[in-house]
Amino acid sequence: MAYNQLVNGKKGDKHFLLGNEAAVRGAIEAGLSVAATYPGTPSSEIGNILSFIAKDAEIYFEFSTNEKVAMEVVATSAVSGLRSFTFMKHVGLNVASDSFVTTAYSGVKGGMVVLVADDPSVFSSQNEQDTRNYARLANMPLLEPSNPQEVKDMVVYGFELSEELEIPVIVRTTTRVSHMRGIVEFGDIKPQNGKNIEGKHYNVGHFIKNPNAYVPVPANSVGMHKRLTEKIEKLQKKNSSLPINQVVEIKENAKIGVISSSSAYNYAYDVAVLDNLDMKILKLTLSYPTSYDLIYDFIKDLDMVFVVEEVDPICEREVLMTVGMNGLNIPVHGKIDKTFPMVEEFNCDIVREGFNKILNYTDTNISFDLSSSLEKIIDNLPTRAPTLCAGCSHRATYYGVKQALKEAYINEDNVIFASDIGCYTLGLNSPYNIVDYLLSMGSSVGDGCGFAMATDQRVISFIGDSTFFHSGVSPLINAVHNKQNFIVTVLDNRITAMTGGQPNPGMPVDGMGDEAPEISIRELALATGASFVRVINPLNLKQTVDTYKKALENEGVSVIIAKSPCTLIKGVNKKPPVKVNYDKCNKCDSCINNLACPAISKIEGKIVVDTSMCNGCSICSQICNYDAFEIIN
């Protein structure tokens, strides 16, 4: 499917869409005017697509420097009357949370949807936090679609609900919903709010001043809070009869109930059907504000209830509350009584195992006898972890840092490597072993401040260009101002690489593909007053080693900007690949053991370069003591 179908597709069209693609269509159907994000898996594709279609869809779109800025761009658009949309991964909401929580107080005029993609099982994140907690924290409605069709429909409904209640609405997905593909039937496209003016391809709104409603100072905040709780109470009443919450009867007059939502519902449904269980399922879609009436009506005549939900036992506690408040005597099985696991995403096998613990209806231990030769292969499978790409400049920087430490006679055990969020976190693995501590986006610089102050060890921080703009600048100011002594490395590969190649403020292009001012990392670093600021080409190993050796002698904060474009950027010229001269190769395996480059492997005792993969970075030839790598011209 071509992405312009998301803009031009008509009501009734059916497409096989990713959850994230369906989210884009939903926002367009709802009459979206403004969207802003910072990329984060599993929500990244939404921004990539909007970036591509923004002008055709008459939408303003930006990749903001971080999620908090995106939240502010969208909140002010919504309060000016426009329908506005931000989306992020679960931990992105932590960054945005300061403004996010208060948007519920100040409210909106145009609809505002905040899509947050959770990552149970941590496919590409640092934790498994459950965004449903944020709905409770901020007192904000939360919708949980379970498949791409519902993602589209709930984004549309989220905008309606938001505009009706004049507060933002959260749409919570999980990796298995955002990255699920399914059949989606399109609906009509609503006109945008606001008006069209010359020189803008999107509609603009108008902000009507009302400081009592919009300025949360002590004199106003309690009133704002009260208005919010009244809105939520109103929605809570309405939620007991909303058709988006459904009772699905697997068997008539079933005495076992299941309460579920999101991707977990899919597993519960499939197991109940496949195993022909005597069950009915309450599928919650508007899962906050919780309707205790709805839960009570569903459970009151049951023999037992299972709560099937991923990550935290949030719904389970609310079901237990309902049981308690009404003096019912119905067992509730979920995570708290250990029927289901507390961590990781579910699947049908896990849900079946949970049901079976209580109902004891089947043998869940399926085993297959395999021959010893196959067992042996399975037991000794080489791992295939993600690795830095062939020609990636991070590999060169990492090698250069370690070489500089060796030449400066500094033991690595006395150096703390504070890292950050990006491809370079792969430096955790052997042979690099150059990630010792990591908290969040931008944390490498703040962590560097702490380690430099609190220990007698040296500190070298690593942060990517996009992450530096996201939240590395303010801790760098902190480091200089508080007279810390450590090295900050900005791994400037000229793109936001890990999430698929989005632009960032260091590039001369914005989120809609237009020309944009390029912000200089070097000038930012100089402006903080850092005492040593250098830009290096990490693919020049000698320059890299010499620069780090000098920085190790510097007192104060040193900033080294290792600038070299990511090999995945389209249009970056590949340099000619290398080959091995077997007359010179000493079979020392130094290249294999120090670089772990995917283009270099050892096949039947010989070092072999896969020339289709080699990007010609030449680091292997720079480190080889026998000059065995030769450039193919």
Binding site: F123, Y269, L374, L381, R384, T499, L568, I592
Partner: protein, 196 residues
């Protein structure tokens, strides 16, 4: 109710065109009037790690294949087929490319097993094993990048495959760059004929 089901586990290494192939199968299924759900994992996929997608055709809601229930494993790389065997039972069709992609190795890690021994031990344990010289056919068709279409052809050629060949070809045209249709069709036919 869950009936007329068919599930396909597709596995390989990032960058081999696995998601594109899976989308073509899913879209063709949709065009045939079947319900299709599919699971993909994005993110690190371009960084040389193991990649898999799961396709379930039939009245399913969940897109993750239960252990030992996959009707087909379509492997783009022999080692990754072995890694995916928890989805297989004795009657699962194992269709796979025999050309290995050796992961970056450093001293002390497990070495890559011999491909012939992988194929023969799979044949000893499973009833429907279809090794395909996929990379060779792809190069013959014009470019190694057409490997995914070779393997798609092989998958479609397996008797139990639930979607008509012409619907797959239609979805291919809808999802692939027009410039390479001729090469991709050639690759598809090579793969198809390797099994039929």
């Amino acid at each position: 109710m869950v009936k007329d089901n068919y599930s396909i586990y597709i596995c390989g290494v990032g960058g081999q065109g696995i998601i594109k192939t899976s989308t073509i199968i899913g879209e063709a299924g949709m065009d045939e009037g079947l319900n299709v759900v599919m699971s993909e994992i994005h993110g690190m996929s371009q960084r040389g790690g193991s990649v898999s997608t799961e396709i379930k055709i039939g009245e399913y809601k969940s897109s993750i294949i239960e252990d030992h229930t996959s009707n087909m494993i379509l492997g783009f790389e022999p080692l990754e087929v072995v890694r995916g065997l928890s989805k297989a039972n004795k009657d699962t069709s194992l269709v796979f490319n025999t050309y290995p992609i050796v992961p970056a190795q450093i001293t002390g890690t497990n070495s890559y097993p011999n491909v012939d021994s992988i194929v023969s031990s799979l044949k000893d344990n499973y009833n429907k094993v279809y090794p395909v010289e996929g990379s060779k056919y792809a190069e013959e068709a014009g470019n190694i990048l057409s490997l995914n279409m070779v393997l798609l052809g092989s998958a479609v050629a397996v008797n139990s495959f639930p979607i008509e060949k012409e619907n797959i070809i239609k979805a291919m045209k809808n999802n692939l760059n027009e410039k390479f249709h001729k090469m991709n069709l050639k690759a598809f036919e090579y793969g198809y004929n390797a099994i039929k």
